[in-house]
Symmetry: D2
């Protein structure tokens, strides 16, 4: 599910003449933030409620070089394997051609401000589960995105 778009900054490049591998982490962050926002929720709200979702695992696959000033579509899909972990799968594609450039996933723990594990509260769990159900309904494109990302 395409949730946002972005343009590659010069600051994202390195001397190989293309976007650095680190730039993908910013695109992933923007994608999951906008996935949440579509649901009427923000990660800022979540943190202010006392729940933090640090990344405990990250995987990225770089399919094609990404160029300076290129416009990208950012896709994200949620996977919810219980109440103490949240996974996001991502696809970064060229905005014009739709060509897949980068895919990946992040795994998030759910902790309180002291760093102790804290299960997702009921209301947030219900909201995320609803968002997960809706992303599936958008059909073929989303399902493809999901399976491509999970291959990484």
């Amino acid at each position: 599910m395409i949730v946002s778009s972005v343009r590659v900054l010069y600051a994202d490049t390195d001397q190989m003449g293309v976007a650095s591998h680190a730039a993908a982490l910013r695109w992933f962050e923007q994608a999951r933030a906008e996935w949440l926002r579509r649901l009427g929720c923000t990660y800022r709200d979540i943190e202010e409620s006392g729940l933090m979702m640090p990344i405990y695992e990250l995987a990225v696959r770089y399919h094609r070089p990404v160029r300076y000033d290129q416009q990208l579509n950012l896709s994200a899909e949620l996977e919810l394997p219980g109440r103490v972990r949240v996974l996001f799968h991502y696809e970064i594609a060229d905005l014009q051609s739709g060509e897949l450039l980068v895919s990946g996933k992040t795994g998030h723990a759910t902790i309180n401000k002291s760093g102790r594990p804290r299960p997702l509260p009921d209301d947030l769990f219900t909201l995320l589960a609803r968002g997960m159900a809706e992303q599936g309904e958008t059909g073929g494109k989303a399902a493809n995105a999901r399976s491509a990302a999970s291959r990484t």
Copy 2:
């Protein structure tokens, strides 16, 4: 094999109050650069010879929070599955306690300046293979590092 050390900068932190997940990418880069330097070779030399080694896959596992100003030991080990791919495995540990904080790996393609696949030239392949053999000889610690990283 510990190849370098580094101190966590304030610029590496985010508002969660610990090092951002992106910081690991800098530590990995420093680790593989120093792994090469120990062999009498630098990535700069490799690029100047016309060979580039862009990352095509990245995996990171965050075991424990990393704090501002913490001193880290950076370990790297090479895996050489042929002449067109180079893998590095990493372990980031607390310099004092040795506690494992982050592990991961990067997969690198070998290409020429036009972006076409280019196998590792003989002299570089031989050098890397020698480095890989030597890291194995340092024994238990290195082997553990390798297997821990490959679990990510």
Copy 3:
């Protein structure tokens, strides 16, 4: 002249709980890129024509803390003190309230790919001069932005 907007990423924050001072450099870059794009020109085009515009001086003034997820308006204005230097002045303001958060400027040299000074070619100089004239015509707001930035 407001040329673009952006939302503060978590990756832009540090453990002080607000956007890091380094984040302003990305906002400045986006502002000058979009200033150029409005003129029907891109920095990518400029570089592809063989002209590079590295920053030789930078000044930033942080007026108020910038928060995670805050939406920002990015303003830029050009100053053209000849054919071998290009200056941009910036203002970063809260998108809703208009409150000034960060201001600054960057000075750019004009060089060729070998790093030698190269004056702005006629067509680009004419285009930039036209853009500079037009930004002045938009009146009070722009003039204020300019004078505020130049105070940094």
Copy 4:
């Protein structure tokens, strides 16, 4: 006064083929952290005592291109214009040749955790004043660094 050294990472470069202007901010941070550490004090200690020193102004001058893998000497000098502001001046030079590459300064406010102005406490003010006196005694080199940086 040279307080530390660092090697330029690939992550510090951009597609201009040299270190990005943003990289200087990391070198400045490392320089002021090590300036403090020489005095037996760390910025981490300062923050843990409840005092924060956010940057309110930044100026950088880029004298020469900085290359990937180049080794840099980092110099810093303190200026203490009272109890509510702290200024650092920096010089970044090639480790081998001593050639000046980047200079600059950062101005820091002193605030408490709520963001309210808070003057430097007596013990820290005395310590910083002593450090400032000692840096002057090291003589010509340091004085030159100071006056060069203040020209930015």
